[in-house]
Amino acid sequence: MTAQPPAAPAPPAPTPPAAVSVAAGPIDEPPVIVGDDTTGRTRAASTWRRMRWPFLVFVVIALFVLFLAVVRPPTSADPYAPDNPEPGGGMAVAEVLKDQGVRVTHVTSVADAVAAAGPGSTLLVTPNPAFFADDQISSLNRTGADLVVLQPDFGLVAGVSRNTVDSTYGVAEGPVEPQCDDPAARAAGAVSLAPGLYDTSTGSDAVRPVLCWPDGSGNFAYARLDFPNRSVTMVNDPGVLRNGSVLEDGNAALALWMLGQNEDLVWLVPNPMDVSTGDDQPTPAERGQVNELMPPGSAPVALVAVLAAVLLALWRVRRMGPLVVEDLPILVRSAEATRGRARLYRAARARGHAAAGLRASAADRIASRLGLARSSDANTVVDAVVAATNRPSQQVADLLYGPPPADDAALAELARRLDILESEVHRP
């Protein structure tokens, strides 16, 4: 169906800019519109005008984040972590050790710790919020590294000491002298660390623990076992490492002595979700190599699917022109006032008011049906109703002018009986 539009303009010149051209037709002739009076340049300019402030804000925020990232060294908030500068962290000791030439390796899983530690290095195990599994403890034992354990739980104490030490609960009661023959203890001197380790070794044990800083009841704050190729050191109080308490008494000397013995220090901050042991061959998923589980070529196919999905989104997201706006109509129901009044009656249990309304309305209708004046008094109405229905006068008076109903059921019953009464009334 082709039609020549009335008063169509000559086709516009093919050179930009395309402009709105309104044909001057006769009166009441709708205008013919060509183009929206924009060119590529004006559209780019308007896009820039629209987007420049959001763009500027975005750039400022990005620059600020970049500035923060460059200026501030990366830190964490994990307790006892070597990059945590807060009072609960271990950054002070780690930085001093680094300055002294110790290579500090921060790990968070047993598997990584086992991979990083070996003979001739030190493996520090900071307190675990959960518990180590038995096979994790034996993995830690098998690394050949000197082991330093802070605030070990029962299982870890027994595991790393081969059942020669056990732990209990103790409270520090001021600085005490080490009272033992251990170089680290002698260097540290008096400290106030919580005791809680005690000797359970028997004569048959090849290696017996050296215990230092006792309290009055035979519990010690520090235990050290010298196995043939490695040593195991346990400190019951992790305060020896914390930034907040490392400067008290001899804590710093003890921490540096324990951790600075070897050139390599593996710093394990256990993660409660970690179940790795570092023993068996790790699964591909554990090594972060999901691809090996997938059929070959699946990654490029997934990439194709993602790109296709992006195009689908671009297709669907583009509107076919802007929405057309229209004033909303007013949507208030006329009956809302009546419903609201009914709820007020009900909420206030105004049965008297409700019943009075029903009675007056019924009496009004009955009176007009019987031809009574609107101003008729109660006795006149009752007499007329009695004459029309042959009901007892007392009953009719009770129904139309009786006391308010006692409860909701009585109100419903009253409404029903008023209906019946009204249906019985006919013009005499």
Partner: protein, 450 residues
């Protein structure tokens, strides 16, 4: 810039080469192919900014009847135009799917007013869209969006052109079905009906000879004495009386009435129906009809239109009247009536018998009106309240019924007060108000009270 589903499908087809040569490089090459194809398509698409568009819309249409918005699209781009064209209208304009059925114009899927266009260079086509408006007033069209696609249909360009368009939606005047029966009654009263009965009314018409069956009370003895036969007077209803319809557009006219399970319609719509029927009837009866829509100021007015010009003027003037959320200024109404009507007239107030609003607004001033004019107060009742009144099933319904009964009593009291001041009151459900008001008018006319 737009892409279509075909571009996504083309990208998806990349699975085949990737499976044959599984490497990320293959994906890169395929993605480049898709992007290049889309860019070529965009470059080859006809420029939507070189398409001339004109929108032809009828000036006005009745509510719920059909109108056609027609776009005349002329391709002056120098290329074949393959495009989706959307004729955008607001939701209450009730635009349907495109109606074109030819090789150049087809309805497009996915929405109202969309057309698929395939036009060679230099040719034009008409794109008709059916509109069935669901709301009174001026319905303004949105822009015309042209999405011009390239020859491959992968991508294209889109522009929305500001093409003006306005459709005035007139009141439905569904009450015109009551007009023939009322006109018949009017003719009977006029004495012009096929069944010849003596014309009712109070205005002296003429003298004629007595025939058997005439009322002996209408014998004119003085004229009989002058002549030899008995002469009777004939009467006819008054003509050229003045009728002023005042439409209250204040806040109470905004409330919606209708069955509980429908969205209902504003009271004002029922009032407008009644006003239109009354105006049509009074216009036919030879009375001079005026209309004022008023809340705190005059929203619309019809003055001095008579004969065939009356009803178009009424419809045009009532089309854009909307409820305003303001309290009606009744003393202002009285002033309006006084300035418009210097002699006795029938003043019809189309308002709401809301007890509180009437007590504070209409009641103090109605006696001033009733002193000089015949006043009829017409009000729209609510079907939903009538339903609440009959509820007895649950305790909550009984309370609803009690509240409705209380409301009835208050309304009855207000009605009584209005009648005492000399105003007639007509209260009816929305569909019944127009015929009831027409009957009231006929009754007043027959009684000679105009």
């Amino acid at each position: 810039m737009v892409v279509t589903w075909r571009a996504a499908a083309l990208m998806g087809l990349g699975v085949v080469p990737v499976l044959l040569l599984p490497a990320n490089g293959t994906v890169l090459v395929w993605a480049t192919v898709v992007v290049v194809a889309c860019v070529v398509d965009i470059v080859l698409a006809a420029s939507p900014r070189r398409v001339a568009v004109q929108r032809l819309v009828p000036a006005s249409v009745r509510l719920r009847s059909e109108a056609t918005s027609e776009l005349v699209v002329r391709n002056a781009s120098g290329r074949r135009l393959r495009a989706v064209v959307r004729d955008a209208w607001g939701p209450s304009a009730g635009a349907g799917p495109g109606r074109g059925r030819s090789e150049r114009v087809r309805p497009a899927p996915g929405g109202a007013g969309r057309h698929l266009v395939n036009l060679p260079d230099g040719e034009a086509a008409r794109l008709p869209t059916t509109l069935v408006p669901t709301r009174r007033g001026d319905r303004t069209a949105g822009g015309v969006t042209i999405r011009s696609l390239g020859p491959l249909g992968l991508a294209g360009r889109q522009v929305t052109l500001p093409v003006p368009g306005r459709l005035r939606v007139l009141p439905e005047f569904a009450s015109r079905k009551h007009l023939p029966s009322r006109l018949a009654r009017l003719r009977e009263m006029d004495g012009r009906a096929a069944v010849q009965i003596r014309g009712e009314g109070t205005e002296f018409d003429s003298l004629r000879e007595y025939v058997v069956g005439d009322d002996v009370r209408s014998i004119d003895w003085r004229a009989t004495a002058r002549r030899r036969e008995v002469v009777v007077r004939t009467w006819r209803p008054e003509r050229d009386r003045r009728v002023l319809i005042v439409l209250d557009t204040g806040r109470t006219s905004a409330a919606r009435v209708g069955a509980a399970d429908s969205t209902g319609a504003p009271r004002l719509d029922a009032s407008i129906e009644a006003a239109l029927l009354l105006a049509a009837l009074a216009g036919h009866a030879g009375d001079r009809v005026e209309l004022v829509a008023f809340d705190r100021t005059v929203r619309s007015r019809v003055v001095g239109a008579a004969g065939p010009r009356l009803m178009p003027a009424m419809a045009e003037s009532l089309a854009t009247v909307d409820p305003v959320l303001l309290e009606t200024d009744w003393p202002g109404v009285v002033t309006q009536v006084r300035t418009r009507m210097t002699q006795r007239a029938l003043v019809v107030l189309l308002t709401t018998l809301d007890p509180a609003a009437v007590e504070n607004g209409l009641l103090p001033v109605v006696d001033q009106l009733a002193r000089d004019h015949t006043v009829v107060v017409a009000s729209v009742a609510d079907e939903e309240v009538a339903g609440l009144r009959a509820g007895r099933e649950t305790v909550a319904e009984v309370y609803d019924a009690a509240a409705a009964a209380r409301g009835d009593l208050e309304r009855t009291a207000v009605t009584t007060m209005l009648r005492r001041y000399g105003a007639d009151v007509v209260e009816a459900l929305p569909d019944d108000l127009a015929p009831r008001l027409a009957d009231e008018y006929l009754a007043l006319k027959a009684a000679g009270r105009l």
